[in-house]
């Protein structure tokens, strides 16, 4: 029996194989949304937990395990952002890109994070994936389960709010 069929039948070994195959991809995807290593590890586990519980609903005919996992991961990350909306810490894991002096960059990052924190999680995710991570609109639409136009609307609305928030904080794009 194929790996995905065995997983759909509830085989733990098949689940382990899929877990080991996809854990890095799922972690990386979640990291891009929540930008917090500890939270991303927890959410990776949560994603696979949801996947395991839903094994019977997996569409073996489609066979797109990676896409299914990304959708589950995105939902788990959105749930996390909704819970943590009022307490987003400054991430420590972001790589250093020396475009500005460190203090200035840190201050800019904090200002941007504060402004992002005022966005609803769905607008925030759309902006992060579309503008920061430069994910194609159609793949964002797929993981969010909405149309490409709806993604564009979310990005547009989010940018409009961000501009207002950043201008109020003295940062002018």
């Amino acid at each position: 029996m194929e790996l995905l069929e065995r997983f759909a039948a509830g085989d733990l070994e098949a689940f382990e194989t899929l877990f080991r195959q996809y854990q890095c991809d799922v972690f990386r995807w979640i990291m891009r949304i929540v930008r917090d290593r500890a939270a991303a590890e927890d959410l990776t586990l949560e994603t696979f937990w949801r996947m395991y519980r839903a094994h019977a609903r997996f569409d073996v005919a489609k066979g797109n395990c990676g896409g299914w996992l990304r959708r589950i991961a995105t939902n788990a990350a959105l749930d996390h952002l909704r819970r943590k909306r009022r307490e987003v810490p400054l991430p420590e894991d972001t790589p250093d890109v020396p475009k500005a002096p460190p203090e200035e960059q840190s201050e800019l990052r904090q200002t941007i994070f504060s402004a992002m924190d005022r966005l609803s999680p769905r607008l925030r995710v759309a902006i992060l994936l579309a503008l920061v991570e430069e994910e194609p609109y159609d793949s964002i639409a797929e993981v969010l389960g909405i149309s490409v136009n709806a993604v564009k609307v979310r990005v547009f609305r989010g940018v409009r709010i961000l501009r207002k928030e950043l201008s109020a904080a003295g940062v002018h794009p």
Partner: protein, 73 residues
């Protein structure tokens, strides 16, 4: 909003929040997953069910307590 304004915002965001495409996991999460799979499912103690039944019965037979309950919530 023009394309230029959108591009400016993109540039600013990327300066403050560098893309994280290459974030590495750094450790195998399978042992933690196994622990989670082995954990017993969350079960409510019997006393919680008794309290829930009592509260439901009170609301059903004495609906006048609903405003008081709402006030204390």
């Amino acid at each position: 909003m023009s394309d230029r304004e959108m591009e400016e915002m993109k540039k600013l965001l990327k300066e403050g929040l560098p893309p994280l495409r290459d974030a590495e996991l750094g450790r195998d999460l399978w042992p933690a997953m196994l622990e989670r799979l082995a954990a017993p499912p969350l079960r409510l103690p019997w006393w919680d069910w008794v309290l829930l039944a009592g509260a439901s019965a009170t609301i059903l037979f004495v609906p006048g307590v609903i405003p008081a309950l709402l006030y204390h919530l």
